[in-house]
């Protein structure tokens, strides 16, 4: 069987690249950490990979705004390739800083538009926070969303968040309505029983508790929480997981690898 190849794009300040690599490897893929300068030298190289990941971190120190500089660099120097890649239907994931980058490039929520129409801004608490939260995927969305990344998950999972700028804000009501209508909001912060949370389980004050979204087609997925930090049950605060070994974050990576296979 052909090995699935994953490109983990890194730059100055990327710092979740190793664990993202490990997560994909755990799911049977070959994952490579590639510096953006290397990719810019040979832009076509991107098409040698089946999956593209924008890992977490503080790209370029999050100077100006989180993910902004890397987003501009990708757009200006790799814009055509990345757009083509996205529209080809190959899976793309952006985690935390990577989500911020996807939103600021404009790959989310709509890669055809390829324009920034939402943002991730400062947490309401006005500080960086690292904690575990509950995420809910509504039944309806689970059944109807085209998101390839979130299949086979229980209705409520927990994942850690660690960010200072995670408050999702769409440009206007219309875009928000579209996100809802197209079942693009795949993860919302919630309580354990699925009900509406307050701070701190609502960690940042996101519009409609949005934690993760995908594009209409379902191949591009961005989220603030860190699934790569929960691939083993051991990583959960109470060591919960499935098959007494794995964490629910693993399923997210496995979904993409299976999809490409």
């Amino acid at each position: 069987m052909k090995k699935i190849r994953v490109l983990i794009l890194r730059t100055a300040g990327t710092n979740c690249d190793y664990e993202t690599q490990s997560a994909f490897e755990l799911c049977g893929a070959i994952a490579e950490r590639v510096h953006i300068n290397t990719l810019i030298e040979r832009k076509d190289k991107i098409f040698e990979y089946d999956i593209l990941a924008f890992p977490g971190g503080f790209s370029y120190g999050d100077d100006i705004a989180s993910g902004k500089i890397l987003a501009n660099e990708v757009k200006n120097k790799l814009g055509d390739e990345v757009k083509k890649y996205a529209l080809s239907g190959r899976p793309i994931i952006g985690i935390c800083n990577g989500f911020q980058v996807l939103v600021k490039i404009g790959l989310l929520p709509d890669p055809e538009l390829f324009k920034q129409i939402s943002t991730l801004s400062y947490n309401d608490s006005d500080k960086f926070e690292c904690r575990w939260v509950y995420l809910k995927t509504e039944k309806k969305i689970k059944n109807e969303s085209s998101c390839i990344w979130t299949k086979n998950l229980p209705d409520i999972i927990s994942l850690p968040v660690a960010h200072g700028e995670g408050k999702f804000i769409p440009m206007n009501e219309k875009f928000l309505d579209n996100l809802n209508k197209n079942n693009q909001i795949v993860f919302r912060y919630s309580l354990k029983d699925g009900s509406e949370p307050e701070y701190p389980l609502a960690p940042n004050g996101s519009t409609e508790q949005i934690a993760g979204i995908c594009n209409k087609k379902g191949n591009i997925f961005g989220l603030m929480p860190h699934p790569e930090r929960y691939v083993f049950a051991l990583q959960h605060p109470a060591r919960e997981g499935f098959n007494s070994k794995y964490g629910w974050g693993k399923v997210i990576f496995q979904n993409a690898v299976n999809f490409v296979s």
Binding site: F58, F128, A162, P237
Partner: protein
Amino acid sequence: MKCTARCETIKILNLSDEELFELSRKNVLSMSLEEMRVIQNYFKKLKREPTDVEIETIAQTWSEHCKHKTLTGAVEYTEEKDGEKTKRTYNNLLGETIFKASVELDKPWCLSIFKDNAGIIEFDSENGVAFKVETHNHPSALEPYGGSATGVGGVIRDILGVGLGAKPLASTDVFCFGDPDIEISKVPEGVHHPKRIIKGVVSGVRDYGNRIGIPTVNGTVYFDDGYISNPLVYCGTMGIIPKNKIDKKIESGDLVLVVGGKTGRDGIHGATFSSIQLDKESDVSAVQIGNPIIEKKVLDTMIKARDLNLYRAVTDCGAGGLSSAVGELGEKTGAVVYLDKVPLKYNGLCPWEIWISEAQERMVFAVPPRNIEKIIEIFEKENVEAVCIGEFTDDKKLTLMYDNDIVASMDMEFLHNGVPKPIKSAFYKMKEEKVQKPVEMSSFEVSNSLNSLLADLNICSKEWIVRQYDHEVQGQTVIKPLQGNNIEISGPGDAAVIFPYTVVKGTKKGIVLSNGLNPQYGKINPYNMAASAIEESLRNAVAVGADIRRISILDNFCWGNPNHPEILGSLVQAMEACYDISKAFEVPFISGKDSLHNEYSINGKKYSIPSTLLISAMGIIENVENTVTMSLKKDGNKIFVLGITRNELGGSVFSKIRNIEGGIVPGVYHRESKDIMEKIYSAMSENLIEACHDCSEGGIVVAVSEMAFSANKGVKVDIDAIKIYSYLEERCRSGREMTPAEILFSESNGRFIVEVEPDNEEKFKKILDGSIFSEVGYVSDDKEVIFESKKNNVKIRQNSEILLNSWRNTINW
């Protein structure tokens, strides 16, 4: 010697003693008269005046900060006990205490101790783990944000600069501050208010640590008004390194490559200024400016270059800047450096400023000429500046050039070994400790004290700080700083465990990090403070699952001015305890650091910090799946107290809040304690323990409450079942029984609270056979935390949610 316009000659050959001393003071050289005289004589022999570059180089190299003259120097020590004086002379205080213990223990798994930027122990057959804790006190007092941020950056570079470079895996940060609620009028002139310092320091650690992507997983915050004008900021980092990358070597002809940040005027005189007392004139320009992203880029690229074997040695630019880094690497060979080639942030720096600037994020490499192009390419490919500034020679001299002029030329031997060894006197008078008057309290008063203790600054939740740090980046933090059974509620963990699965593929092993610190004890008994700090650090590590046979420790002494015999005397006491306890537990020291002169002077008044010893422990865990957290797991499980409770309230948090006079400082009874630690590990290896918590500040009552409220459960404890030691025992002799309050609040060392399932009880007891322990109660489903003594008719009943709120509302800004 010819000098450029930018380099001056300093006339010292004909100076009088007074003039020599004034020169040292005026230029922040921090050198003693004796040292100035040695320099004068050296240049008399050379028959010339020194340049400013030379004087500054010597000052940095000889500074207390770099040379640790007090700790490695001679001490005439006098001890007074019951009116009798005994004397002892140390030729090398460190060498005859801490270092001696490690040499005598001679553990084969200690791979590199006390010689590199960090200590290294064995992780597995392929890898070692390195650990270092530094202090960044003076900078954090003047500029809290920049001071703590560069403290983090600095210690990370120690890990990058150990051997041929380790990959950092986790950080630990310990702070000592004044009371954040103190009235501003009580803060000495020229000092920042504690709350401002705290917020600045926490933000600095957060922004540096989070950005560079190294999880801050462990720490302590300690409050005492003795730290108002002189806060302490300890920053530590642990990293992993292949065993075949531990040795450095330099060959003549290797090139000097400086990598990373540019050099600027920030951090001039950092090394020397941290070796003297602070006052309101202290210069903020001595504090460096940090940039974590530059350091991250250096980390990313240098590990690549390391694995391609492109260099022979590396070290970081820390205190003393290039002067220390090149000086250390070239000590045996000699080196020539072209200062005009050093990349600068801006123009206008004099040669001596370039040479001693402590600008951040710089590493110095020794690169064989054949590899130079390749290594520079690796750095430049990821936008990291790498410039060749000189080479290692074979003339055993340090030669500095600027614009083709020689601006310094000195023998390495003089520079590194020329510093005269001071002889300092130390004096310590043993204080008599007496058991306090019986502490009789009603059930109601004990209940109130429990809530006050949980809310006390030194016990309360530090969640406000912990959650600002990304303690889970890298995904390897499997025992977290805050622990609970769900994600809503958590209590204070004893230690953190890192599971380095992304670096060592397929491993089951983990690395535990913990610490011990209790300056309050030191005010009464510095020996037992040090002993307790070591024991506490071990206890914390053992509580999560560490094997006492595979733990190593670091010392960090922060003391006042060592020129006062009493202050140095308490240091001698603490160091003797380090020797004794390290030997007794067979736990070696692998590295350490001291920061003396923590004193602030204003209007003729001097404020000195309490003598403070931080012990940081690092251990190897065979199987991370066997580790446990501190929160109670299941209703009906049994609660055991392991270890003996003695009447030891001296220096306790309880004594402080109740203003109790007297009391005996907790001692360390190593046989009992080591035995229990070994047995806990055996029991955990068989998965017989559900939860385990170290019993320290606040005593049993606080430890049990924390285990209960972090699980949102209840617990019932029979006070009469707790094993207490005979009241006739030598040290704690009182001629009376302990009262229930004394049993509950005593801070005796060597104790653990352990939760065991009824089914495992027999096996557990069998393992513990021969040790002192007792079953004291059980986990209940009603959320009521109950402590009862039928004998004394005392019953404390508290709701665990109320206790949780007491604990977590103190620091919530």
